[in-house]
Assembly symmetry: C2
């Protein structure tokens, strides 16, 4: 990154040692205009060993919602849309691997509390008031926040998911969505979760994929979990579930059932399906061989800020999980606990907290953090073949990051600059499936002031706890 | 914060229950124009017990570089400059209580290393190349980064401080500056540190104050420390020193000298001067009664991101220090270790890391974090009477923070929104001594692209380590 200032002119000198990655069928389209060409960026790519590499002065060609080429050759191709990205770094859009998007409505309402009080005294009583409209407004606000923070895809686990699906479609984002259920709902919860998953899979031009979403082993019984595993295998669906969220849950589970939450997942067949485990800070030594025997694809979503905030004694055991080959994706959880949907922050904190808890400043490195943010996050949400890399054939989910700010200069090590110096606010442009959702910080698909105005009008009814109801009791 | 959108019109209705804080001599000036009036902001103020409070729809009047009034009355005063701050929160500018500003030149050059290798293999060899021009460019870049992040004052401890003082003056920032020295320089280092402190104190229209700056007890011997303490008392200067930076230093000091670094400060008289201790993550139980007996004003600067990054086993023991009444100010350290000069991030991380290391989600709260960021930080750098609060008579060091972004909405608890949801990039306007240094993200006193261009040209000479020199050996 020598010249930090973007300038409008582009030179057309072809470099003799140019690198090109081109999709196999690209040449057939060479005479029709590309949908989008991004020029003169620095491109974050992965080499054949999945190591992070950077191509200087690169061009990215997008056609039909997919990346057709990433090259340092100067191409003289026609294109419907062009972005001059000098001074910008192009990288795969971030993936929020576990969130409850509509909970942004409750951001900051239950602060400085242990998780039991947070759930039982504030969040679950308030959630008994939730209306479709609250969920809709919350999801819009969440999508706006995520697009501004460079998040192009999120895995959501919540209620009223038809509404979240509609907002996802309207926002232009990609998502894996699951309708949460508890066994306290009888079989109806599970049936609705399946119904949702089947109705919405591959909708929004393929941007929406779906999961079955049992809440957690402490709120969903073994029979329901086993039935969920069977349904997931039958229908080829991912299962997205909270498990071993914290050490207390693991210990209570051992005391009550003689099994850890991870062992319950194994016993009920969920580790023989593709499963996305949220948090896992309570994963202990005896869980590791259990996870190693999983025949399904296991991913874990880690949201480290919330663990610090709740003062949990441990964080996700990323190093141990990596040694098993498990993908650990980055997440924020809902903003009611985490205060934000800032996945960039999760990336930096993952590096910092892993160094600190492991007592080893060499692990995890900035490049490893970027691997978590890209390929591992894509795999964790079941989209390992589709997103997570700027490579020909992948969906064109791309963000452009400004590296000209004083806080990101000079650049000695681009990976370190990205992870430890850049911030989510440095994302200037967010693109999903080749469509620009934010251009130079301007949101193109969502109206934030309108959403905030209506949300504030509805707030007194939403946060009323005088009725004494709650949707569930937190008692692991 | 009900209406997030700023609009240009201002109504002039005086509220009947308006609150006003006015400087005693303000009425005499009522007919001459104020220098600056900020209208319709939410103002972060402190009540008589130093609790954080928020005044809605407030007006701030600035005259002669000081705050004259903070009021919810609608004033109809003439003013040279007006800022309509609807949708913005006004708060005291942040203070970076311990940094080495020019080290931004080395941001990211020594990553994922233990502190010994970081010092001995990279930083101290490179610092033997430092020229005045490198320091000047680094200081400019650092000031730009800090102003953009809402930092109005910094305590700097480095070399070539005449140059840093000149850049501070030019940038418009406030700073407490100290010329670092080691005993390996003989008495000359200490003499230069004193000479610097006396020549520069109260310069730049009073915005520059100074410290004596011995590096640390492991690089400055007892005789030098004792002489420093005598000079500090004689000249009424603060002493700014690294001490007990980490647990290893405390243990090595005990093994070598039978005393902890804090006990060395006590024995050499430094705790009977006003002293600013950087880091203190190695402060242990036996140090607490020593600190309690200090007759000088002791402050500690905490830069938690760096401690995580170096995988130090402990962080600054903020709770124990608070129980002794010691001010713990927020800091970043230099960007070569911390990757950024983002004090906002230090505020959030202090809350998170204190909860996590103390195992108590209730401590420290968002309001406590704001107390550290304001009054405690001001006191730590010796400016407890001058800055740190939006109160009549204090210097007009004010930042305006945008709270209309989707990531800071809705607002249920403004303190939590500020600490856990807002980011340094939400600072729109930065004011020091009533002078606007950044307006709506535009820097008014510094040229970032010019600095970056020259810095990159100079970089090969700066980072050359082929000579085999280093300025010091890290061996605690």
């Amino acid at each position: 990154m020598t010249s930090p200032e973007p300038s409008p002119e582009a030179k057309a000198n072809a470099s003799s040692d140019a690198k090109t990655n081109t999709a196999p069928d690209a040449s057939s389209d060479a005479n029709t205009p590309a949908d989008l060409i991004i020029t003169r960026c620095t491109a974050l790519v992965h080499d054949d060993h999945e190591q992070i590499d950077f191509l200087e002065d690169a061009t990215i060609v997008v056609r039909g919602g997919r990346i057709e080429a990433v090259t340092t050759e100067r191409l003289d191709l026609p294109a419907t849309e062009r972005i001059d990205a000098r001074g910008r770094l192009a990288m795969p859009g971030l993936v929020n691997c576990h969130t409850h998007a509509p909970m942004v409505t409750l951001r900051g309402i239950a602060e400085d509390l242990p998780v039991e009080e947070w759930f039982n005294d504030v969040i679950w009583p308030i959630e008994s008031n939730l209306t479709e409209r609250d969920v809709e407004l919350g999801a819009r606000l969440a999508c706006a926040e995520m697009i501004r923070g460079g998040v192009t895809c999120f895995a959501d686990h919540y209620f009223s998911m038809d509404t979240v699906a509609a907002v996802t479609a309207e926002s232009g984002m990609r998502a894996n969505l699951g309708q949460a259920f508890f066994s306290s709902q009888g079989t109806e919860g599970r049936e609705q979760s399946l119904d949702f998953a089947l109705r919405h899979r591959d909708t929004a031009d393929g941007r929406i994929t779906t999961s079955l979403a049992p809440h957690a082993p402490y709120t969903v019984d073994d029979a329901d979990l086993a039935a969920t595993a069977r349904l997931a295998r039958e229908h080829g669906l991912l299962v997205h579930i909270h498990a071993s969220e914290n050490r207390d849950q693991a210990e209570t589970s051992l005391a009550r059932h003689g099994r850890t939450p991870i062992e319950i997942l194994a016993d009920t067949g969920l580790l023989d399906t593709d499963v996305l485990i949220a948090h896992g800070t309570g994963i202990i030594e005896r869980d590791l061989p259990v996870l190693a025997r999983a025949t399904g694809r296991v991913g874990v979503a880690s949201a480290p800020r919330g663990y610090l905030k709740f003062a949990w004694p441990t964080t996700t055991p990323v190093r141990a999980l990596r040694e098993l080959g498990i993908s650990v994706g980055l997440a924020t959880d809902g903003a009611a606990s985490n205060s934000s949907l800032d996945v960039w922050d999760s990336m930096a904190l993952t590096a910092l907290v892993q160094k600190s808890t492991g007592g080893d400043p060499r692990w995890l490195t900035a490049r490893q953090a970027l691997h978590h943010a890209t390929l591992q996050s894509a795999r964790a949400v079941g989209l390992g073949q589709e997103i997570g890399s700027l490579a020909p054939g992948r969906r064109a989910d791309i963000i452009l990051v400004d590296l000209t700010g004083p806080h990101t200069q000079p650049v000695h090590d681009l990976a370190a600059t990205l992870v430890h110096s850049a911030r989510s606010s440095d994302v200037r442009t967010t693109i999903v499936d080749g469509r620009v959702l934010m251009r130079d910080r301007e949101l193109l698909t969502l109206d934030v002031p309108g959403v905030v105005r209506e949300l504030n009008e509805r707030m007194p009814a939403l946060i009323d706890r005088s009725h004494g109801r709650k949707i569930q009791e937190y008692d692991t």
